[in-house]
Symmetry: C2
Amino acid sequence: AAKGGPQAHPLGAHACCPHALTELSALEISAAAALIRRYAAPRPLKFNCITLREPRKDEYAAFRSRAGPRPQRRAFAVVLEKGAVAEVVVNLTRPRVEDWRVLRDVAPTLTPEDLGVVERIARADERVVEACRELGITDMSTVYFDAWSIGVDRRWGRERRLQQGLPYYRASAYDNQYAHPLDFTVVADTETEEVLAVDIRRVNGGRTPVPLAPHNYLPEFLGDQYRPQRLKPIDITQPEGVSFQVRGSEVAWAGFKMHVGFNYREGIVLSDVRVDDPYEGRERTLFNRISVVEMVVPYGNPHPPHHRKHAFDVGEFGCGLVTNSLRLGCDCKGAIHYLDAVLSTNSGQAAIVKNAVCIHEEDNGLLYKHTDFRDGKVVSARDRRLVISQIITAANYEYGFYHSFTLDGTYKLEVKLTGMLNTYCLHPAETAAPWGTEVAAGVDAHNHQHILSLRVDAEVDGRHNSVVQNDAVPSDAPVGSPENPYGNGFYCKKTPLRTAKEGAADYRHETSRTWEIINPNSLNAAAKKPVGYKIINNQCPPLLAKPGSVVHGRAGFARKSLWVVPYRDDERFPAGNYVCQSTDAAEGHEDNLTVLDWVERDEPIENTDVVCYVQFGLTHFPRTEDFPVMPAEPVSVMLRASNFFQKNPALWVPPTALGRDASSRTAFSAEGGCCADKNKYQGRL
Amino acid sequence: AAKGGPQAHPLGAHACCPHALTELSALEISAAAALIRRYAAPRPLKFNCITLREPRKDEYAAFRSRAGPRPQRRAFAVVLEKGAVAEVVVNLTRPRVEDWRVLRDVAPTLTPEDLGVVERIARADERVVEACRELGITDMSTVYFDAWSIGVDRRWGRERRLQQGLPYYRASAYDNQYAHPLDFTVVADTETEEVLAVDIRRVNGGRTPVPLAPHNYLPEFLGDQYRPQRLKPIDITQPEGVSFQVRGSEVAWAGFKMHVGFNYREGIVLSDVRVDDPYEGRERTLFNRISVVEMVVPYGNPHPPHHRKHAFDVGEFGCGLVTNSLRLGCDCKGAIHYLDAVLSTNSGQAAIVKNAVCIHEEDNGLLYKHTDFRDGKVVSARDRRLVISQIITAANYEYGFYHSFTLDGTYKLEVKLTGMLNTYCLHPAETAAPWGTEVAAGVDAHNHQHILSLRVDAEVDGRHNSVVQNDAVPSDAPVGSPENPYGNGFYCKKTPLRTAKEGAADYRHETSRTWEIINPNSLNAAAKKPVGYKIINNQCPPLLAKPGSVVHGRAGFARKSLWVVPYRDDERFPAGNYVCQSTDAAEGHEDNLTVLDWVERDEPIENTDVVCYVQFGLTHFPRTEDFPVMPAEPVSVMLRASNFFQKNPALWVPPTALGRDASSRTAFSAEGGCCADKNKYQGRL
Ligand SMILES: [Co+2]
Ligand SMILES: [Co+2]
């Protein structure tokens, strides 16, 4: 029922060439690979990634403001050559390799192809076969291995690209393997395709029997248990079409404009986020770039081999590489626009993920309402939400990333956690407590945390921003004093964060702490305060691994709720560019700096181009309800206008009484439609 | 397009009489008033409330389990007789007044009729006329008064029923008065209808000019500024009807069953909340009764007269009395069922609010999803939410209360705050900071908090419950020790709350603190832990008014995030039954006990019938974006199953691939429908 094609007007006419921030096309990937191969010939190469080298910020800004030329198209690649890792920059506009830099002592991302190695080689390994036979499993095609990065294994260094394999048994092809975890793990070399170790965890000298009770969740098994009549359909339609416009990867909606990028590592990247200010009659900048740049999932069972479980899903696997191809009506409901993702393979070919990014709008309930109690005069309007989303599969876990904008000017990232708990078998002599929960007989799901890092390259009403810490505190004056006679005084204590070390901040519940990204050069005329956007982040559990622990060392970024550093073109990933097999975020590894290194410089962060890293997430003590497949659990962080607009920025939204909702109905009768004042004002629209 | 009428099957056949928990009918109110009048005759009475006297818990439970007779219908009334306050119990089944108890030194709720007094008498008061004339206002019909309860005024005691009036100017009938606050306040006696005082706040001896710039938000003023074409309609329909069934005020949906009550004070009351357990094949109890039982909004400007602003919207005004009549398509979207509210007037008549409660269901995004990365085998299902909501108007403010249930067993109360900021005029010699924000020239909106109390009369799998405090903490063992070799160990530290004093708890961010209501007598067989429901409440700002302050004294309930006390039939309102003009929650007022008094008894709360009071809300530093009408700001609290079910309780929900979503479409083309496996499994349903 959608009408017409994309309405491109607010974004201008179609351009001659790709948008400067748009990911490489399939042709560009092939071209880059060919240039790199030719440059290295005759040496054989393995491509770890080929992705857009985004234009330098100044270069892009000059182009955007028509003060400079169109940036040349460049590719960035990580290549492996006999174990050596090199970063390559390719100019695609003037085709040539511009830079080839060999790095020392780093291990790049494990691609899906890399991860495919473990199951194949482990099933064929004699020690694995013997380990399974001892458990009573003789058919190796029933043993499945989830390939994970390896948090730590002191037996090998970064001269080998390591993985670990976590084995499970399946009674049939689609049986839920997480109900049947096995008691050993393997360590493998990704490049040589060797099983380096088979580590059997014996309890009191013995093996742990495989828990064999089935716990399935696929329709093949549950078909008879469904209650399809219990829930009647809900149809969400937009008979006059959607309210957003798309041109390539640019999106305009309700006064917002932005570029929606996508790369192998961060997945969705929102750039150039701007808003039409209805009061100032101009377009104002909000964020130069927003993306999820790291995530760590440390598990809390201290006993080997579980200490190795702390996946960094962005840095070690790539939120783009493991993204899902989305399905209409399943992942996305309503009137949907999809964007495809273009990724690259180990052999330098392009790989397309159809429908990788979902763009749609939703009704978002009340936008505002007020009734005059004297006469019942009432006005209300409904809110909308534009949602730009993707879903990734990180082995057992699924994460949905929902970047959203609402009509009050708010940006919110909601992450929904679902999928499967990582499980381990429980020996009859053991209890799951206190390090986990026995979610089914003999199946132990360990305590873990999910800590994500949202990178906000702020551009709040211009590039020069500062960050102020807000704490709600009682008046300093005692009760009964002339300044606080009744004791009710309280205020917002504002602490400017002046240098990067001051910008390393913790959330504080007692003062409902927020942080405000302000532009000190742009004052709100009424409030007489700098315009700002507030970071609202109260779902940010502290890292529970102790200082001195392996996780604390590796996941330095997760030690604080907020980091603020000055912008640098080459700094994006707070756990380092090369997270696999990293050891200590504070080691000052010259080819792999982390946010701890950036902060150590302690540079000024006032009235300059700043980047905020906002850590958020949750601590997950598994419940039986999370088994065999987890109900989605949401966690979110928000950026909310704070004296940024002169007034409520959504007063252009017509109240529902002037409305067009002809579809709402009473549930059990034929009454429909709205609204009292419809006839009265309809003429004006 | 809805088909058929209410499908009453899951709730059984229609009963002969009203449900024992259903609010009094209009006839019952009239009957109760007549009995009370006859009893008191010839003395004249004013009715403050006439409401259902709910059956005693044991009496109702006996009836529910068919072990006792149907409870007799009773009314509870508060009456005023020449300034004296009495509580009256009327038996409607065997018509007679059963109890008449005169109370000392209490002030009952201010009803809308009571509050209507101030504007009328203030406009006619000579001192008020003079105070306005000095500001240049001579037409008293342009001066409007918001009537508020009075937080504190030491000039009078509880022998008078006080109100304060906050005056505003309007340039025309629908002009936004909150843009034009005046600099004086009045205090009035509700019963004698006298203006007791006109308090003019002079700054440097002078008056504050009225800010006259218009700031409007009604369509009468904004008609030309709307952008009606910017947002295309979103239609939400249920062509096969809704998934919930209703019988009177009983509701069944997706395995949940409950009674939806409504009274003048609490508004919505959910009782007898039960769930069908798909694994145990039995109905299990969750909550005996859930409602919002108090709310305080303390303002943070310490200077008189602002110290008097700390409204208790439940206790002082009644969330039922000030509830809105909802409109289809405006307040509620989709397929809606409404319940009317039956309230009473000062003269003892019934007053009906049509469409006071909205019941509808919503799509709630992903319920669960998992993809096997090996073969792309994918399953996902969509979640639903049942929402039971009301919206109140508390003078300037609006609050939407959305009680919701989702398919994973979660209950969530989301409160949306909207409406108008309370404003005050700013003298040219003053600044709004630090106690407020100048939201428009000369218009000061003061800092304030909203702290609500959700009362959860728990019945988690039976009446005998305990509450355990959960703290996420690192392993006690040092890094490198045999118990914690790699330092990653962490666990959930469980502290049983044994007595009411231990049940007075604060939220703690550092440990992601939650509280679990458990049934120690009912073990989860797999987890080997008691079944439970977890209170998730991290939006619970501490009360910022200092100890010793008036607000701290009156709003004792707001001092803790959680209170747990044993159930008693007569204890429901944590700030007391009579909140108006209360002074100190800890005073032990014999006719007006508060949660502080209940806690002081320090009774055991383990394995008994417990009630939790969960405080939540937010600290609001006004922004220019909140003016002239506030975009809705949500705040919520959740109760989530915690090893209550043996497995994911939503596995009966058919995956979307088996699905029935024929309505989703791609935004810019004709592609529609789902889903890969549709044909494959359709036959099974
Ligand atoms: Co988890
Ligand atoms: Co507020």
